[in-house]
Symmetry: C2
Subunit: 417 residues, 2 copies
């Protein structure tokens, strides 16, 4: 007698990352998946599972690839303002410094975000999040950091919480008051760090508005000492540490990451072999952001192969933000990771699912196709991952499921024919 489930997708030509991390497989053929109560209750070989389940919705996976939904573990999705004219100037050769001196850059986003209401910020961010969801992102991390004052930072985090409540995808909030120094603290950087640690973090923790605390550790931004102070303070308040590290120089961020036991260290374009060893030993997930390198017109991508060769669980993410990367498609990031960082299609897909979930502490929730994990899935109209990478700049039709519910794409129930 078949077990009744909500969703049954049978005979998928290929599936990626089935089973748990330890016992599972990267690529399986002829796979059936069964979903009930939003979770995977069966996953395995179609012949072995034939007849085991009966689905309320039944989909034929023939010719289709099944993957976990994308997990985008690094975005600055909440912001107001329009920096498109600035982008055109940058393409024409204006430097970041020139633009910043003229009032552009992050400060432009801060001005616009401070001036926007929660509703305005929510609607703008929701448009971006919905586009990401349509492209297969079922879990997204969202950072604050364009407020740089208590009121706006909390407002941004409340927007992130509303996105999680009102949209189908999962939204994880990160407090990043330590993104930049606001104008009013330009002459008193230590005073701003005090504000972040002594006022903002306690308020964020009290309202339970964030899971993580992040900091931009870089020459001329937050020093390693300041970064460590912010992250330790966050840890004390229950916020897991993340860090922007070694983006413009090997500036100490990965060392801080290792010292504080950060969940992830992100960017790493300029990280060194020594740093890579430290990250590996401390189980910090290196998260690479090739979209930013591409969008800034730069050539030096992060050393993915060195990190992979050292045995690190490399994650990849969009870094979607108003200044250095407007890319929303994890599919594009997957392709770019192969094209410019020498990752294989499987390594890139893993970076966008399983390892990204690891970078968010969500390994028990999503990122693989295993019994007990969330049924956040993408069913691709295409039989294999190499094809998706090969045409990564094209529209690959897909159906996106969150908790087993089809939220985007064609209604593929066999009985709809």
């Amino acid at each position: 007698m078949s077990e009744k489930v909500e969703l049954l997708i049978e005979n998928c030509s290929q599936a990626l990352f089935t089973g748990t991390r330890d016992e599972g497989h990267d690529v399986s053929e002829g796979v059936t998946i069964a979903v009930a109560d939003g979770r995977i209750v069966g996953i395995g070989n179609s012949d072995e599972l034939a007849g085991r389940f009966k689905g309320l919705t039944e989909v034929d996976g023939t010719g289709r690839l099944l993957t976990p939904g994308f997990v985008d573990s690094h975005t600055h999705l909440v912001f107001a303002g329009d920096r498109s004219a600035e982008f055109a100037r940058r393409c024409a050769g204006a430097s970041y410094e020139e633009i910043s001196a003229a009032g552009g850059g992050i400060r432009a986003s801060v001005r616009a975000t401070r001036a926007a209401s929660e509703d305005e910020l929510f609607h703008l961010a929701a448009q971006r999040a919905v586009r990401m969801l349509s492209l297969g992102t079922t879990t997204v991390e969202v950072k604050s950091g364009y407020g740089l004052d208590l009121d706006t930072e909390l407002r941004m985090l409340r927007v992130a919480r509303r996105l999680d409540e009102e949209l189908p995808l999962h939204v994880l909030p990160t407090f990043m008051g330590a993104h930049e120094f606001p104008d009013e603290y330009r002459e008193d950087r230590d005073g701003y760090v005090d504000l972040v640690c002594e006022t903002m973090i306690p308020a964020v923790a009290q309202e339970k508005l964030a899971l993580f605390c992040d900091v931009f550790c870089e020459e001329s931004v937050f020093s390693p000492e300041q970064s460590k102070r912010v992250l330790e303070c966050g840890k004390q308040a229950g916020l897991k540490p993340k860090i922007h590290a070694d983006e413009l120089a090997a500036s100490g961020g990965s060392t801080v990451a290792a010292e504080v036991g950060a969940v992830s260290a992100d960017h790493l374009m300029k990280t060194t072999e020594e740093n890579i060893r430290a990250l590996k030993e401390s189980n910090v997930v290196p998260t690479l952001l090739p979209g930013t390198t591409f969008f800034l017109g730069k050539e030096q991508y992060a050393p993915a192969r060195a990190l992979l060769n050292a045995g690190c669980p490399v994650a990849i993410a969009t870094d979607r933000n108003p200044g250095s990367c407007t890319i929303e498609s994890m599919q594009f990031i997957v392709g770019l990771s192969c094209l410019r960082m020498g990752m294989t299609p499987i390594e890139a897909f893993r970076g966008a699912t399983e390892n990204a979930a690891l970078a968010l502490g969500l390994s028990d929730a999503c990122g693989r196709l295993a019994v007990g994990l969330a049924a956040d899935l993408i069913l691709w109209e295409c039989p294999d991952p190499a094809r998706i990478v090969y045409e990564f700049e094209n529209i690959i039709p897909r159906t996106v499921f969150v908790g087993g519910r089809a939220v985007f794409g064609m209604q593929l129930d066999r009985r709809n024919r």
Copy 2:
């Protein structure tokens, strides 16, 4: 009394390239357009045109940008086979030579295309063309060149003709038997050039299967002498010359282009200042293909600024093909042209519309928004071109019109509310 028209789009926030090339404008605000019998019958300031027309379909252009449909003047859209595994190998570091020696590369596409029926080729190409149309490409050029024998070259061109007949977008066919030397002529290159000139071109001309003749002029492919012979032969048969020039080296292609009066010279990554002057003086349209540079992971983009500064009408195209560029989106090419070739948003949009039409001899048919030209339009859910360039990797919703008929996007008729 208002003139009755089929389509009326009023109050567009901005419109690009209105009026003729000589009298027209790059950017206009508050624009109304009227369409009848597939052509533009009115275009101009909304206040001045208020009440002049009454449309069967009426669309509110408020907050929306109106542009000509994209013209993609360089594609190799017709082919069979799957080179996705080869792409993964290339990303992993295999050289083009290694892949070619193992039977991959163009020869793999030739084998698969020769083995495919006209129906199979048609259906594969139609999928690509429909995706392009959904992204705003209303006119596309399609080259033969994966047959390299009479029968298959003619088959590819018949497929191009069928695409034009059966799909809404305009398809212009180019004969490119001189794309590469087939295996069977590896030891007898001159023999193959004889075949192209004495057998293929006459057959193509007799069946009226192509408008243009193209050749890949490059070291180790077709020499300048061979290229000139092929193009002169094509001209005699009524096929306008085009040429792949200076892609891997300054190998003589632009000189040939100037000598034969080619309509366009395409690629030009390695072209020189002297070549640029020659192209300018001969009115050859330089067509740049940044998608190919990007997809091959290369860094040296074509010298767009030098060409623009010399006064050349620079066109841009996708070069969509199975080996060196799977990109189908002209929006992406526009963005990439700004990001990596220093073109402004207006220069890039012009390269993708007006100048691309010039590269196909279609200036009297499309590429601008002028009375008498085809009503091939894109109405963007976005008010200005800088925004599209800034988010060029994202989905910008649009409605695409061919001959005034909405072929893709939302049905925006005001009366549908």
